[in-house]
Symmetry: none
Subunit: 210 residues, 4 copies
């Protein structure tokens, strides 16, 4: 869904009573948060800074969001362009290469910096991590299913490999680099990862798993 996830989403069917929630305030909050997210690490952004930059009361923030991480996540997702369109080059390998290249550029840029912070915050806040998964990671992973299914249909890829495993094999190394910073996030690396995942590192065909 394109709507942000307010703390108390409108769900009942009855007509809303009272003064309606101010879109202006919400927009200002998200905009201010984005502005700050682009300039400093999440852990250095304060609720007061968001409020004052947005010209908004802190209470308004805490009324609609559980904490500043949730605000930041909503801000981040609100500016997300559509996930890069699923490529269709005719080659499953090339499709995944394109996909991982796109992801890598994303990771390597300012958005990647923010994503790292989200994953970091998620390590101490399981609920937040789950939300990041649901709202950022899973939609993108699910979208790739068609790519894999196309490969299966074409006979490009092995039908005995779990799709979840494939995703982790392809994105895991890059996420590992995103967080560990021990190796570069480049197009070349993306291509090498996908090619190797497709081809394997063994010299000869392997015996099937027991």
């Amino acid at each position: 869904m394109s709507s942000p996830a307010p703390r108390r989403p409108r769900d009942g069917g009855q007509p809303p009573r009272g003064r309606p929630r101010s879109r202006a305030a919400e927009d200002a909050i998200l905009k201010a948060t984005l502005h700050l997210l682009r300039r400093k690490p999440l852990c250095e952004i304060t609720a007061d800074a968001i409020a004052s930059r947005a010209g908004v009361s802190k209470a308004t923030i805490y009324k609609w969001w559980l904490n500043k991480n949730r605000v930041a996540l909503d801000a981040f997702l609100s500016e997300m362009r559509e996930p890069s369109p699923i490529p269709d080059t005719g080659s499953t390998l090339c499709d995944f290469v394109e996909q991982l290249k796109a992801a890598t550029r994303f990771y390597a840029g300012p958005d990647g910096r923010v994503l790292r912070q989200f994953l970091a915050e998620g390590q101490g806040d399981a609920e937040f991590l789950a939300v990041v998964r649901e709202r950022f990671q899973q939609p993108r992973r699910r979208a790739l299913r068609v790519l894999w299914d196309r490969g299966l249909a074409r006979g490009d890829v092995r039908p005995d490999v779990d799709f979840e495993l494939v995703l982790d094999l392809i994105f895991g190394p890059m996420v590992y680099r995103l967080l560990g910073r021990h190796n570069p996030l480049t197009d070349a690396a993306a291509e090498a990862i996908v090619r190797t995942v497709f081809q394997g590192v063994a010299c000869d065909p392997m015996p099937p798993a027991p």
Copy 2:
């Protein structure tokens, strides 16, 4: 040296003057920190808690460590068993499977919980992340070189694949799961990852990268 990295290591050649550093205090600090690390997330551990549990002054902590994350890292590393001995089953694939299984059990246990916190803290503190890399990740990665080299010597694995890439392909998916919590950290997953990395996901032999 395997000793912890004090803030101001004694390095000059002249004999130390004044009261020598108290080993007892250092041990108490590390022990107290470990105790707390096992019970709560790093971000909820306070320097005061460490000091009071160790029966030590906070100043003593900050005299020898830059901040509490560094204390925690030292405490964590001080109790690290020797990295699991490099297996030698005769099969490179099996060696890597064993290795990833060991790592997975580590990740899945209490130490993994702590490691996640370190990676998380590292996202907002590049210097700390670098230290985690140097003192935890790199030694373990380097140790695996022999494994890969054995495989190369045997002709088990493709010589055109970068070793750094291999490590990321094998450990990346599991680290991704460690941090993303979207898929389980099991022996079976470890085995599937390594087998698939070796064999590839493509049906047919792929053309070599250009």
Copy 3:
């Protein structure tokens, strides 16, 4: 008029337009405020609490009253019984004793608790203090004039003493006790005060003031 002092009294001559002011709302507000006044100190009563207990919007409160202190004052005065009837025992002293006893019982009871709060709030809000004076204190003081005049007519009391001074001499000590809580608010104290004010504390007749 004995009606409460609304923020915007209807005073123009033109017939009111639109929906008339709801008596029910006003009554509910005063009733709810009284309920709360009996249970907790004024400074702990919030406008929200009044509104929600009255089933009324906060805006309605602020539409008709300047602030919650004014609401509380109106609520307090609305339940005031008629000021105790001016006694006429034949003795001016006894009349004042009866009067101060009645006041003392008032001060010592729940109403006294509320009155203390009003005086307290008045210390930081001169306008409010003035209203308390006008609507509570002055009517009661004025009513006692007849008592003093009767005493003068009878020759019971000295004609050279200012009536304002007398009131302060008689009620001041008790108000002092009400606010300072250093001495009890009892009938005995009331009687002692009045008797001593009448008789004086000096042993011998004093020379008149110059």
Copy 4:
């Protein structure tokens, strides 16, 4: 006592451990509070304002004082000159007149403004009121005992009148005026009050209380 009343007074006999409390911080806090007390009503003074003006952390304030009222009381008492010396004119009446005049000037000036606020705050905080009584009111009341005793020794005043009652008769009217603002706080009023308390308002000697 001349020492302020810290939240945790030094009481044990053991030598103090750790960094000693900073006199400079305490002085700065009291000085800043006084500065603010002279410029605005107590209820408009914030802990943040005191802290920032004193160049002190808010935590330091809350470490030593229960709340800002207590800080203000300490600040107020710290600048109190010695209570005006007990006069000895030879006439008990004149002594009391001088005393009440001094008090009246005090009440009518900036200190009186502050004292009013303390009494006001005390109405919603019994503990605070008790402290105000103990540290401000009672010492001053006790000091007047000698005055009354001198009067008794001289035979100036009636021995059957309770001293507590006398104090309330003399100071009550003025405190009443201080808080009610219905009559002026002047030297003339002070003199009239004392003379009338001494002489009584009745025309003739009264019959003794039954």
